[in-house]
């Protein structure tokens, strides 16, 4: 694990590597990949955070930003994906503090692929502004946002998929799912598709709703308390996000921490 306390330019090594951000300052980080790699970034504490990533031609990169901060996280990200590169940026947001995240992913050259994916257990205020822009032909952009909204949680996701003119045969997709357990819980998801080219494919799917009463009754009739049901259902809802990462080590880490955190919060 590499600790990060100040502005740093990080050259990602091939394979798996781990980072931990722990500072009071505002910091700016750049991640540059040279070969296929997986990066796990734990956020313990930070001032305003600025993240830049760069994926050169042909590499496959997975990032997992795991937010453990007890203070508000205010993060601004931009991700550059070059030709035939394939980048996944995943967010584990199951802490109690607020998050304000603004993301811009640029699919810069032909054949670039990008996925933004988040799993949020929302008991505070989580606001995400996500943009994936197809700048070149034959590019593929995707966003997957899954959230469980608890007690006083407020979730706001503004997800924009944009295909510029000339980026033909490109695709822009997104899926959003939000689940709540009580009435009066607050989730707003705004999916947007801005398309300036004819020869493209684009879609968005969204579901929002409360846990089914019959499902709750069924689980309880086998002896589980409301709290245990909430926890079990939340896990089922949020864990699939781990499948977006092609790294067993990362997957297991995410699952373990998530189960523990969900147990604490539900």
């Amino acid at each position: 694990m590499t600790p990060i306390h100040v502005d740093t330019d990080i050259q990602l090594p091939e394979g798996y590597s781990e980072y931990e951000i722990n500072t009071d300052r505002n910091i700016e980080l750049t991640f540059t990949a040279k070969a296929d790699c997986d990066a796990f970034v734990r956020i313990i504490n930070t001032g305003k955070l600025r993240i830049r990533t760069y994926a050169p031609r042909g590499v496959k990169v997975n990032y997992l930003f795991w937010n453990l901060s007890e203070n508000t996280l205010d993060v601004d990200e931009s991700h550059e994906v070059m030709g035939e590169a394939d980048v996944t940026v995943a967010y584990g947001e199951i802490n109690r503090a607020d998050t304000l995240r603004s993301v811009h992913m640029a699919l810069r050259e032909e054949g670039a692929r990008g996925l933004l994916s988040s799993a949020s257990l929302v008991d505070s205020s989580k606001t995400y502004n996500m943009n994936v822009v197809n700048y070149a032909p034959h590019t593929y952009g995707d966003m997957k946002n899954y959230a469980v909204v608890l007690g006083h949680g407020r979730l706001m996701i503004d997800a924009v998929g944009k295909i510029i003119k000339g980026a033909f045969r490109s695709e822009s997709h997104q899926t959003s799912r939000a689940l709540s357990f009580e009435e009066g819980q607050n989730a707003v998801i705004l999916p947007e598709l801005l398309i300036d080219e004819d020869d493209v494919q684009a879609s968005h799917a969204m579901s929002m709703g409360r846990v089914d009463e019959d499902a709750l009754y069924y689980l309880m009739s086998r002896g589980l308390s409301v709290q245990q049901c909430t926890s079990l259902i939340s896990q089922g809802y949020l864990l699939p996000i781990t499948e977006t990462l092609n790294n067993e080590e990362l997957k297991n880490k995410l699952k373990e921490e998530m189960e523990r955190k969900i147990g604490e919060l539900c």
Partner: protein, 279 residues
């Protein structure tokens, strides 16, 4: 000895009174058949005992093992030894059978069950019920056939070992082979652990396999006739008409029971505003 005692039970569903004064006693080791035409309160009685929030008890009492069941939330009734094998088991996407069952077993224990022991008993049970081996890793009832869902109810029962099992038309949707598999599993629990059963079924074939000692006939929210196994047999041969005449009762007009097939995956208030921009 654990005894279920129901006295003068009145139950409403959505403001409509379905049960109008039911008395019933089920003792340990006993097997009771609950019969009656559709829409006359059989499922309602089982649901009220289990504590389904849609069924409101307006009068009367239910006591099990000396405890006031009506004062307990659903999960505590389960831990007290009650189990309802449901007519329409819910599909719960995202929650695996094994995670669910381990949690359900652990609420009954001081110390959590060891993974090894759990896997062993799960495998044994899956084998007993002749389910597919991947059952443990599949999401709870999701994509199961009707028969698989019913057998999965019995898998749960076998692992949770209730002292009183209620079966709501567990035999519907089962083919002849599956019917025998399920009956064998039930008889084993009955004989080995003294599990009592309260069974709703329309089919004499199932009753022949599990051999109830008592039969109760529920018409229009009241038990109008009680007897032994002979009674179930007679109803199978002659239907209910003779009971209506002899006891001067009218059945409640049978209503189509609404099949609840909601699940978490599809519980969206607002589902899939799916826009496809294709050209």
């Amino acid at each position: 000895m654990k005894t279920l005692e129901i006295k003068d039970l009145h139950v409403e569903v959505e403001g409509k009174e379905i049960l109008r004064g039911v008395d019933l006693t089920v003792k340990e080791n006993e097997v009771h058949a609950l019969m009656g035409p559709n829409g006359n309160g059989k499922s309602t009685l089982l649901a009220a005992i289990m504590g389904n929030p849609k069924y409101k008890v307006t009068q009367g009492s239910i006591v099990y093992d000396g405890k006031d069941i009506l004062a307990m939330p659903v999960n505590e009734r389960s831990v007290a030894g009650l189990f309802l094998a449901m007519q329409y088991p819910q599909e719960i996407p995202g929650v695996t059978n094994s995670d669910f069952l381990r949690a359900a077993i652990n609420v009954r224990r001081e110390e959590p069950i060891s993974l090894f022991k759990f896997i062993k008993s799960m495998e044994q049970t899956i084998n007993d019920l002749q389910m597919k081996e991947d059952l443990a890793h599949r999401f709870l009832n999701e994509g199961f056939s009707g028969g698989e869902k019913k057998r999965n109810e019995i898998v749960q029962m076998e692992l949770l070992k209730p002292s009183l099992a209620m079966l709501d038309e567990i035999d519907s949707g089962l083919d002849v082979d599956a019917l025998h598999i399920v009956a064998d599993a039930l008889n084993k629990l009955h004989q080995e652990d003294g599990m009592a059963m309260l069974v709703v079924s329309h089919y004499e074939r199932f009753y022949q396999l599990i051999k109830p000692q008592f039969t109760h006939v529920l018409v229009n929210g009241k038990i109008v006739l009680e007897g032994d196994a002979e009674l179930a047999d007679k109803i199978d041969r002659e239907g209910y008409d003779w009971i209506y005449k002899e006891y001067n009762v009218q059945p409640a007009a049978a209503e189509e029971v609404k099949k609840v097939s909601a699940s978490i995956g599809t519980c969206a208030v607002r589902q899939a505003s799916t826009a496809e921009a294709k050209k």
